[in-house]
């Protein structure tokens, strides 16, 4: 196996390095924990440079998304020593910061000239800060991500479909300008016969167990006017979470789910959506931007066959659900210095540039603001446009307690079809109010 040879070579150089640098720092064995997905494989490749330069050895623990939060939060709360470095999901930061599970990085950043101003502002707020919008940093933005849409450009550009669409809807079949247009397109493709196969409109997030349906439905809710709280009065929820506009947004998501998704798409998240898209089942898929390098390289749907667009605006706004993560040092680690050395190495502009080239969405401004960035990949511009409109779920320490009822209420309405959208959101206000009362915030 070539991969092994490379590792051996790296180990060889690292041994040589130790021999020469009279034991300045002994070689550490660092474990980095992240989700098991394409970017993680890219990070393994990238980290080989770090192993060579530093002499430290990198191990990895990757957990699939549906189990990622469960496993890693369990790991943090059980005081485990598995991870030295953790690329934890953005919403965990509040809890991890307040409970002392992540190392605070301010001093380290100052001492090593790492400036948060150099990173995309939304990622600094989303991945690094707690409390939000204060200069307290618990992570270095590691992977920018946002929900966007992928579509079958080859299907969209078929003349016969173009024509049929135009006669039916009076406009060209193309990237939708708003959510209603998106639904029209999804309806247009639903049940259609393409190349002898029945295809469907769109793959949405509907997963129940972890965070799937919430990460999907928020994209629509935001754009219909849903707000997490009263902008003037924190934790004041009624009328913002369950405003009539928000209820309309939820109804829209259900309508989209009912009319235009493949049969059985009731528990789908990132990987199911990718599967459906790649196997030619759907015309469009909602998914995080991380999939785009993989889609582009795919032998069957890659290259010119796929296009990308940011989440379309709704009647009351234009946002997209933030994904992505920052990299943190687990407070419990025995290898603090080596872990910090990794972050220091990772923050370098050259490394960040390479990170982007191997498929990682760098959050460093010098990378994404480079004039050549937008055209470097067909999805680069869409990524930039999407990152400009991001909004995130609660990142409170009680985030899991807030996520659970949202998963339940929304899935219950959208997938199981129980009650009305208004009832679902009213129930959510009740659940969330109870959580904040328990937290002593109300």
């Amino acid at each position: 196996m070539r991969g092994h040879l490379a590792t051996l070579a790296a180990a060889g150089t690292c041994l040589a390095g130790i021999g020469l640098s009279t034991a300045s720092a002994s070689a550490a064995d660092l474990t980095l924990c992240w989700a098991a997905w394409d970017p993680a494989n890219a990070l393994v490749e990238l980290s080989k440079d770090f192993e060579k330069e530093s002499g430290h050895k990198m191990s990895f623990e990757f957990v699939p998304w549906p189990n990622f939060a469960d496993r890693m939060l369990n790991e943090l709360n059980s005081g485990g020593k598995l991870c030295d470095l953790l690329i934890g999901d953005s919403q965990w930061i509040g809890g991890a910061a307040e409970n002392g599970q992540y190392l605070k990085l301010n001093e380290f950043f100052d001492a090593n000239g790492i400036k948060m101003d150099d990173f995309i502002p939304a990622t600094v707020v989303g991945y690094a800060q707690w409390p939000k919008n204060t200069p307290n940093y618990w992570a270095l933005p590691a992977f920018g991500d946002v929900v966007g849409w992928t579509y079958r450009k080859d299907w969209f550009s078929r003349p016969e479909l173009q024509e049929e669409f135009k006669t039916k809807y009076g406009r060209d079949l193309g990237v939708p300008a708003n959510l209603d247009e998106l639904k029209d397109i999804a309806e247009f493709f639903q049940g259609r016969e393409i190349d002898g196969k029945t295809v469907y409109g769109a793959a949405l997030y509907t997963e129940r167990g972890s965070e799937g349906i919430t990460m999907g439905v928020t994209n629509i809710l935001y754009n219909y006017g849903f707000k997490y709280e009263n902008p003037d009065k924190p934790y004041d929820l009624a009328g913002f979470v369950n405003s009539p506009d928000a209820a309309k947004g939820l109804e829209f998501y259900k309508a989209l789910y009912d009319c235009c998704t493949p049969p059985g798409a009731s528990d789908w998240y990132m990987s199911e959506n990718i599967d459906a898209y790649k196997s030619g089942q759907v015309a469009m898929q909602m998914n995080f931007a991380f999939i785009w390098p993989g889609v582009h390289a795919d032998p069957t749907v890659g290259g010119d066959k796929s296009g990308y667009f940011p989440n379309p605006p709704g009647p009351n706004g234009h946002f997209a659900q933030l994904g992505g993560q920052g990299i943190s040092v687990v407070a419990n680690t025995d290898e603090k210095d080596a872990a910090l050395a990794y972050i220091q190495w990772f923050a370098q502009p050259d490394v960040q540039k390479k990170w982007w080239s191997v498929g990682g969405y760098s959050a460093l401004r010098s990378v994404v603001e480079d004039p050549s960035f937008a055209t470097s990949q067909p999805y680069a511009q869409t990524f930039l446009d999407s990152m400009a409109i991001v909004k995130d779920f609660w990142a409170e320490p009680a985030y899991a307690s807030l996520l659970q009822p949202m998963q339940r209420r929304v899935h219950d309405y959208v997938v199981a079809g129980n009650g009305t959208a208004q009832e679902a959101l009213d129930g959510l206000v009740e659940d969330w109010t109870e959580v904040f009362e328990d937290e002593g915030k109300l």
Binding site: L73, N99, R208, D267, P397, A400, H411, A416
Partner: protein, 315 residues
């Protein structure tokens, strides 16, 4: 071991040595033998149980080490007992319990009754039927999600093949009306053999002479079935229900892998609900109270049931 071997063994042991080692008294030996087991069970079962009871009166959260632990009295208990969501998951558990027990008894008894016909090769078929119950529910449950997939799944395809329905027109796991049955079907597939085996033991315990006597009295086969077979097998059947009942009340792995509690929270049985409270929301005090309530329920039901079982046995 035969008596002869016994003697040889005794001869092989030098008398002098055997007598020389003074054996411990039986009582001391008893405690040495039982002690480690009791200690381990106290450490891993009873001590934690007492701890759980203690925690159930507090607001403790595992993930908030910096927060003060407050005594909250019975607040956790009252909140749980008045929470409609928890009643919903109790309902999900009850539906699951009732239908799995019902189907497993009917099919299990029927199979045992057939196997008791002593046809050729019944040993082989019995062994095949028993296989599913010995396997890991998590691993098998996970694979069933694949079998349940519309279109590509074997289950939907088989149903489509038999009924002429379009295999992509229904989804066992996604559909509100089908999801509760999706878990019942898999559990029935896995555990019917258990009930079958116990019933078979019951059937085989009935002496032939009783049937012979009934035959002399010209009792019809139907009458023989209801007056001999069923009453004689009943204690066994009730034992099977006890075992399955306790197991399915605790049910976690299979359902987690199959539906994850969805759609909505339709199949969120109590163990899944408890897991969410304890290990996702990390409301340790609250979920401790929840755990205690579940203990009491399962012990209570089991105790009442065992009483009934004993009465049937004595009859």
């Amino acid at each position: 071991m035969s008596k002869v071997a016994m003697d040889r063994l005794a001869e092989a042991t030098p008398q002098r040595l055997a007598r020389g080692v003074r054996g411990l008294s039986d009582r001391a030996l008893a405690w040495i033998f039982v002690g480690p087991t009791i200690v381990l069970l106290l450490a891993i079962n009873i001590f934690p149980l007492i701890w759980t009871i203690g925690l159930s009166f507090t607001n403790f959260r595992v993930n908030r080490p910096n927060e003060d632990i407050r005594f909250v009295g019975t607040q956790n208990y009252t909140r749980i007992l008045t929470d409609t969501d928890i009643w919903l998951s109790m309902q999900a558990t009850a539906h699951f319990l009732f239908w799995t027990l019902f189907l497993q008894i009917v099919i299990g008894f029927w199979l045992a009754w057939l196997i008791n016909r002593k046809f050729r090769g019944n040993d082989l078929w019995t062994t095949i039927i028993v296989l599913p119950m010995m396997l890991s529910p998590a691993v098998v449950g996970n694979f069933w999600t694949f079998l349940y997939q519309p279109q590509i799944g074997l289950f939907n395809y088989a149903v489509g093949f038999l009924t002429g329905q379009d295999p992509s027109s229904f989804s066992m796991i996604a559909d509100v009306s089908l999801a509760p049955w999706s878990i019942v079907i898999v559990d029935t597939w896995m555990w019917t053999p258990f009930v079958m085996l116990i019933c078979l033991a019951g059937l085989r315990s009935i002496p032939d002479s009783i049937y012979e006597a009934a035959e002399c009295d010209r009792a019809s086969p139907f009458r023989q079935f209801w007056t001999i077979t069923v009453p004689m097998v009943l204690p066994f059947l009730m034992l099977a229900v006890l075992f399955r009942g306790i197991e399915n009340f605790k049910m976690f792995d299979l359902v987690v892998q199959l539906t994850g509690g969805g759609p909505g929270s339709l199949t969120e049985v109590t163990s899944i609900n408890l897991k969410r409270e304890a290990f996702e929301k990390w409301r340790t005090g609250y979920s401790s109270a929840y755990a205690i309530i579940l203990f009491v329920t399962v012990y209570g039901l089991a105790a009442i049931y065992v009483k009934a079982l004993n009465r049937v046995k004595q009859r």
